[in-house]
């Protein structure tokens, strides 16, 4: 596969009709960035373009494998992106505007499940526009919750129509759902475009680059631990962490070994949440690769549908380097990253999803400690 920088970055814009998607699109297209941009829109908008290209498409959701939900992709995007990439006329950037009713999951999964799309493009980020004035009217809708949960960047737009106190309240609600997204307050979708383009939200090299506050709290991971660094012939053959791997593992080797360890798990006000929420886990200690793999496989198999996004940095026993991962539903994308060096080893991960059971997730993760 070509290096990330050779692939054309794609930003997905989500948000309800009237949230400001078209305004933002026009800002991006009219900004003087010298880039050739292709826009794939599912919703008819008033987009003014000169040198850029706008393609309208109808959302087509395909289950690629018989009944496997994690393999749900967007057939229309596969066709259009495949066609665009073959042209002599190359684009520097692609924007996908989805309808307010679209599920961002299949859009994101398309960039991992289709070989042609994966080879030529890379998903850079999901930007959700939120109408600060009206979003609370349909706050309970699946669409609003999913768009916020999947987002790397949330633009809290139309700030001029609400009071600062209302904005604070809204930001707090969004933060509870999605602990890792960057939230920007905007009026008329006015924003420095570096905050929405090239955000590298799915880039394994940038996982938790900007560590969410709730993982920093507690401070348990700041004290130094002595670890045994076993450098003898550790291999990752047991570790089934393929790029874009679809977890169909039926291994039920799921043991709960509760070790009494000081764990920096941050307590939140919800234990079990029927709506969308974020669960962050921070612990010191090294993980047993085999146990972790079994737990993760089982978790994704059982709960993958409810887990929208996850990301983390892990300390695997016997491994001198950090293990970084991110995922969308049942898709798991991970790799061995740079060495820990003098940095204290620790594990930090975040799940964003629906019906997440914080205690169960935390206990399950702890059971993977070596």
């Amino acid at each position: 596969m070509p290096a990330t920088q050779d692939r054309v970055p794609v930003t997905v814009l989500t948000g309800f009709l009237g949230s400001g998607k078209t305004t933002l699109l026009n800002r991006i297209l009219s900004a003087n960035h010298g880039k050739r941009i292709a826009v794939i829109e599912n919703e008819f908008g008033e987009i003014g373009v000169d040198q850029d290209l706008v393609i309208s498409s109808e959302e087509e959701i395909f289950e690629m494998n018989n009944g496997c939900l994690c393999c749900t992709v967007r057939g229309d995007l596969i066709r259009i992106l495949g066609n665009l990439m073959k042209r002599r006329d190359k684009f520097d950037y692609i924007l996908i505007e989805t309808t307010g009713m679209a599920d961002p999951g299949p859009v994101a999964q398309t960039f991992y499940m289709d070989d042609e799309v994966k080879a030529a493009t890379t998903i850079d980020g999901i930007v959700a526009l939120v109408d600060a004035k009206h979003v609370l009217l349909h706050w309970d809708s699946h669409e609003v919750q999913e768009q916020i949960a999947f987002a790397d960047v949330v633009l809290l737009n139309k700030t001029d129509l609400v009071t600062p106190a209302e904005l604070d309240k809204l930001e707090h609600l969004i933060r509870k759902m999605n602990a890792t997204a960057k939230i920007h307050r905007t009026k008329n979708a006015e924003i420095d475009l570096t905050n929405v383009l090239n955000v590298k939200g799915f880039d394994l090299d940038r996982i938790l680059d900007h560590e969410p506050d709730f993982l920093k709290a507690g401070g348990h991971h700041h004290h130094h631990h002595e670890h045994e660094h076993e450098h003898d012939e550790h291999d990752h053959s047991n570790c089934d962490h393929d790029h874009g791997h679809c977890e169909h593992d039926h291994d039920h080797d799921h043991k709960h070994e509760h070790k009494p360890q000081a764990l920096g798990v941050i307590e939140h006000d919800h234990v079990h949440d029927t709506t969308v929420s974020s669960v962050g886990i921070t612990t010191s200690g090294d993980l047993d690769a085999r146990k972790l793999n079994a737990w993760m496989s089982n978790l994704l198999k059982e709960k993958g549908q409810d887990i929208f996004r996850m990301k983390g940095v892990l300390s695997i026993k016997g491994e001198a380097n950090r293990f970084v991962f991110q995922g969308i539903h049942m898709l798991f994308d991970g790799k061995v990253d740079k060495p820990w060096g003098n940095t204290p080893r620790s594990n930090k991960l975040v799940f964003i999803g629906r019906n997440l059971d914080r205690d169960e997730l935390t206990a399950g993760f702890k059971s993977c400690l070596a």
């Binding site: 393609i55 309208s56 498409s57 109808e58 087509e60 395909f62 289950e63 690629m64 494998n65 018989n66 009944g67 393999c71 992709v73 057939g75 229309d76 596969i78 066709r79 066609n83 073959k86 042209r87 002599r88 006329d89 289709d114 070989d115 042609e116």
Partner: protein
């Protein structure tokens, strides 16, 4: 390339005759039935008509706004049909270089156009619909919208029936009589391309989930073949309806439908090794319709000629484009010539055999 020395002293049976430039990635290529012309469509729209003997470009047709997707030359006739992203089906008097008809395709993003072997009817798929026209451009029928985009459309050999391949099913219609389906072969998945065996008995489709599905049409019995590296968009039947060549990776995989009592089920296919670059994938396969030769094209830029049933050395010819993938293939009507398009904008014609 060292690996082409595999022929040893035997001759390369794929002999380049000419090469010509096309403005963009070649997405479709078609021969006139008399073999005098060959047309190539650029993905960005223009259609070039060449003198097949010399490679001299005779006409540049404007094609379709934003992009042309497919070409089909009328059997026994003079019309070249094209479809593209401008919601039009266009019929060209290709020898004269003029447009004869511009027909409403019913939806934008037209993907497929296919003539009935009689040359009297033309089916064109765009979006979820397929329209059937006669050769004067009159609309005969619009078939019911499919569950998703019509990915492929093919006439069942020996009949007036048209099969549409879309998400979830391959549905066959008798468009001259009406719009009720003759048969629905439902399959939960996302198919990409189909090929009817020349005897009309087996419908094969290649799929997004890296499988190939076989339907024994009359019995509605199906088989699934898996183990492909990637999605399967390349299918070609040999003239006897016995062998199906499939892509879905860098190696041509040939199934023998007479391998056992259940056709290819459980059999080991023939893998045509040492042809295309292991890092790439195939892009097109084309069997002669009255001969034993199979041509393959790949992202590695190679066009390879095979005689898959040969006991020794199935590879009998090879060529490599200087840059860019080999994207499409078409045999001339007399099957002595092969045309191959290139992703970097070139068309090559070979004598093959």
């Amino acid at each position: 390339m060292a690996r082409f020395n595999l022929f040893g002293k035997s001759e390369n049976r794929l002999r380049p005759v000419w090469q010509a430039a096309v403005p963009d990635h070649v997405i479709s290529v078609a021969w006139s039935p008399d073999g005098a012309h060959v047309a190539a469509a650029a993905i960005s729209g223009p259609i070039l008509v060449f003198d097949a003997r010399t490679g001299k470009p005779l006409h540049e047709l404007k094609g379709h706004g934003f992009g042309t997707a497919a070409l089909a030359w009328q059997p026994n006739g003079a019309l070249l049909a094209s479809v593209g992203q401008d919601k039009k089906v266009r019929l060209w008097s290709a020898a004269a270089g003029t447009e004869a008809h511009a027909l409403d395709a019913g939806a934008s993003w037209g993907e497929k156009v296919v003539w009935h072997p009689s040359g009297q009817y033309l089916a064109a798929a765009a979006g979820k619909v397929c329209r059937v026209f006669d050769s004067t451009g009159a609309l005969l029928r619009e078939l019911p919208a499919q569950a998703g985009t019509v990915m492929d459309a093919k006439w069942r050999p020996g009949t007036n029936h048209l099969t549409l391949l879309a998400y979830g099913a391959a549905t066959t219609y008798d468009p001259l009589r009406g719009t009720d389906p003759v048969k629905v072969l439902a399959w939960k998945g996302s198919p990409l391309v189909m090929a009817w065996s020349p005897d009309g008995k087996i419908l094969a489709h290649g799929n997004q989930d890296s499988t190939v599905h076989f339907w024994y049409y009359d019995e509605s019995r199906d088989l699934q073949m898996w183990g492909y590296r990637t999605k399967v968009r390349e299918l070609a039947w040999d003239m006897s309806s016995r062998y199906l060549a499939t892509g879905g990776g860098p190696v041509v995989c040939v199934w023998d439908c007479q391998a056992g009592p259940n056709g290819p089920e459980g059999s080991k296919p023939t893998m045509l090794q040492d042809g295309h670059d292991e890092e790439g994938t195939l892009t097109a396969l084309a069997y002669q319709s009255r001969g034993f030769l199979l041509a393959s094209a790949g992202t590695d830029g190679r066009v390879i000629l095979w005689q898959p049933t040969a006991r020794r050395g199935a590879q009998v010819g090879a060529f490599e484009f200087a840059g860019g993938e080999a994207s499409v293939l078409a045999w001339s009507a007399d099957e002595k010539s092969l045309a191959a398009g290139c992703g970097s904008g070139a068309l090559a014609v070979f004598r093959a055999g």
